[in-house]
């Protein structure tokens, strides 16, 4: 189940549903990626950037106070928030931007929701001397002004997207359109395990460093594997990176936490697995929030990074096969977890990651004190502080 059955397929899901204009470029990208991964020099260069620039390996932290307080398992936090640029996004971006350079590209483009992937892409482009243009929904630009300024500081151009719902999905649409205008010198650095093949596989591989490190770290610390790993899921890149090295370990539950916004019984959510249906969009077959005529639904979450109407195809397959579990977590639950983690462990995590923390808080009693569980803390929460304050009625603006 870990390898696509057919090229770029995960069970039913995946594929390459894109305009013909992009097809040759996707084939070239797949070939370049395969060759790069077989090239010891490329892997060494990437590894060197991950360790000497991004700060890997990231810590696996035993959250003892939280473990004792919740009265469930031993909780370990995989600290992707401590990476350079403050989230797991840098893992994938260093890989893809290095690949762009190897392919002779001089320019990268990317979509961003919360701004984390945009900041990471702008960072890697600055380091590796490539021009960089970031597409960001106008609504997200307003929600994440500091990240916009960060990207500009890093030398990137940020283009606010004013079409559709002006959020992440529209930013993806516009980045794809831009790529069809300019494939010759440009690589689309996709930020999640989504889109047409080879992106879901390539991004998963670049993010797998999360799970590989976690597996080795927990074995070293506890002598056994965790009973569960949890991660938030929008497109699903930190979750896929965490899950992938554990897929063969049948005793390890893989739990993805999706954004239920104001509740899955309302229309204001982004819970693709709980409420979505099979469809074809953004180059892939997977589950999407959509209406009976296949129009993509407007989605909602307090978290800009999870505010996406689809999910990566490999997650869809993990769900179909029963190997992965996917649970909806509301805004309110995530905000409570955000505050709880700050108070209890002194860690302000991203509101995206707080969805995974919240899910464990809900299910802690299912585990015993001998069990260990890992939560992927995919990003840090500085970017969310003002929004959480406003959610709690304090009128703070960035």
């Amino acid at each position: 189940m870990d390898q696509p059955i057919k090229k770029g397929r995960f069970g039913l899901h995946g594929g390459q549903y894109v305009p013909e204009t992009l097809m040759n470029e996707l084939l070239k990208l797949e070939q370049a990626y395969t060759q790069a991964m077989e090239d010891a020099e490329f892997r060494q260069e990437l590894n060197s950037l991950l360790t000497k620039y991004a700060g890997r390996p990231s810590l696996l932290y035993h959250a003892k106070k939280m473990s004792a307080d919740l009265g469930g398992p031993q909780i370990y936090l995989k600290r992707e928030d401590l990476n350079h640029t403050g989230s797991h996004k840098i893992n994938n971006v260093l890989g893809q931007v290095l690949l762009a350079k190897r392919m002779g590209k001089t320019r990268v483009i990317a979509e961003t929701g919360a701004g984390q992937h945009g900041v990471a892409t702008a960072t890697a482009a600055a380091l590796l001397d490539l021009a960089c243009v970031i597409f960001m929904g106008k609504e997200d630009v307003e929600r994440q002004l500091l990240n916009v300024y960060r990207m500009e500081l890093l030398g990137a151009t940020v283009i606010p997207v004013t079409t559709g719902t002006m959020t992440l999905k529209d930013a993806v649409n516009e980045t794809m359109r831009e790529w069809t205008r300019r494939v010759e010198d440009t690589l689309y650095v996709l930020g999640s395990v989504m889109g047409p093949h080879p992106f879901p596989t390539m991004v998963r591989d670049f993010q797998s460093v999360i799970g590989s490190e976690t597996r080795a770290q927990i074995l070293k610390e506890t002598g056994s594997l965790p009973v569960a790993v949890l991660a938030c899921v929008g497109g699903g890149s930190n979750a896929m990176g965490m899950f992938y090295p554990f897929i063969q370990d049948e005793g390890v539950r893989l739990i993805g936490c999706e954004a239920a916004g104001q509740g899955i019984e309302t229309e204001k959510h982004a819970a693709t697995i709980a409420k979505g249906s099979l469809g074809v969009f953004h180059g892939m077959k997977s589950y999407f929030c959509q209406d009976e005529y296949g129009q993509i639904a407007p989605v909602y979450s307090i978290s800009a990074g999870l505010d996406y109407p689809g999910i990566g195809p490999e997650h869809a397959h993990l769900y179909d096969s029963g190997r992965g579990e996917y649970r909806p977590v509301t805004d309110e639950e995530a905000v409570q977890a955000f505050e709880y983690l700050a108070r209890t462990e002194g860690i302000i995590c991203a509101i995206e990651s707080a969805h995974a923390v919240a899910q464990l808080m809900k299910m802690a009693k299912e585990f015993s004190a001998q069990d260990s569980v890992v939560i992927c803390l995919s990003g840090r929460g500085d970017k969310d502080v003002a929004a959480i304050a406003r959610y709690r009625g304090r009128n703070i603006y960035e």
């Binding site: 305009p19 013909e20 999407f288 959509q290 296949g294 129009q295």
Partner: protein, 262 residues
């Protein structure tokens, strides 16, 4: 012989695109009849989609207007059935795959056949994914149009092997929309396609004025115009009918002035 093949045999067709349901389904039907009265040989009806990734701003906005006005696939099927009682002009759907997928391939293509539709263009269904609908479309006699782009290069041969009806050649990089200058290499692209196939080659993306129509008609078997027509609808709304007819007439005259294919 199907209606599309007959049309290409009879002359060099003008293929006009319009977004279904903009500003209303009833108006779209009227606009299509006006375009046919102006000389349009094939009509391409866009099924509006929330996220049309291959479209420029003009058609994106038309999609949103149509959806906002309640257009959906069922209403467009009814419109095609009504048109089929009034005209024998080939009618095609242009749609992203998801609306077709959600409707159910079997149900969608059987409705196409019942209503008298001739073919379908799906811009996010490249050669690699064609098998997704190819069998069911052909079982209901619906022609699945193949697309070739300036980046297709060595893919042209495999793409045209599957082609039926005509080959939709994308004139330039990027999304749909009016372009003041067409890419000069489009003639070479058409020539390289023609080396591989007898299937007629039509050119679309960016063609908006009679000069361009005439220039492209010198080497292409048909021309496809979308954004320029949709712009007329955007500007004139319900009163666009006569202007659409006059626009098509002017484009047809320019095409007739192009050197004969022989």
């Amino acid at each position: 012989m199907n209606r599309i093949a007959k049309t290409f045999e009879a002359n060099r067709p003008f293929i006009g695109f319009i977004t279904g349901g903009d500003p209303s389904v009833a108006k779209t039907e009227e606009f299509i009849l006006e375009m046919i009265a102006g000389g349009a040989d094939v009509i391409e009806i866009g099924i509006p989609f929330s996220d049309p990734i291959a479209e420029g701003p003009v058609i994106q906005e038309a999609n949103l207007r149509a959806l906002g006005n309640g257009a959906n696939v069922d209403k467009l099927f009814a419109m095609v059935a009504s048109l089929r009682l009034k005209t024998q002009t080939p009618l095609l759907f242009m749609t992203y795959l998801n609306p077709v997928f959600r409707y159910g391939y079997e149900r969608f293509f059987s409705r196409c056949q019942e209503c008298g539709l001739d073919g379908i263009i799906i811009p996010d269904l490249p050669y690699e994914e064609r098998q997704e609908v190819e069998e069911v479309a052909s079982r209901y006699g619906i022609i699945l149009i193949s697309m070739v782009a300036p980046t297709s290069k060595d893919r042209i041969k495999q793409i045209v092997e599957q082609a039926q009806g005509f080959i939709y050649t994308v004139s330039s990089m990027g999304v749909t929309g009016v372009r003041s200058n067409l890419d000069g290499s489009i003639g070479e692209l058409v020539e390289s396609i023609k080396k591989e196939t007898q299937v007629p080659v039509a050119v679309g993306f960016g063609i908006s004025n009679p000069q361009q129509a005439r220039a492209v008609a010198e080497f292409a078997d048909g021309i496809i115009v979308g954004s320029a027509l949709v712009k007329i609808v955007a500007a004139h709304g319900e009163k666009a009918g006569l202007l659409l007819r006059q626009y098509v007439q002017a484009m047809k005259e320019a095409m007739a002035a192009a050197a004969s294919r022989q």
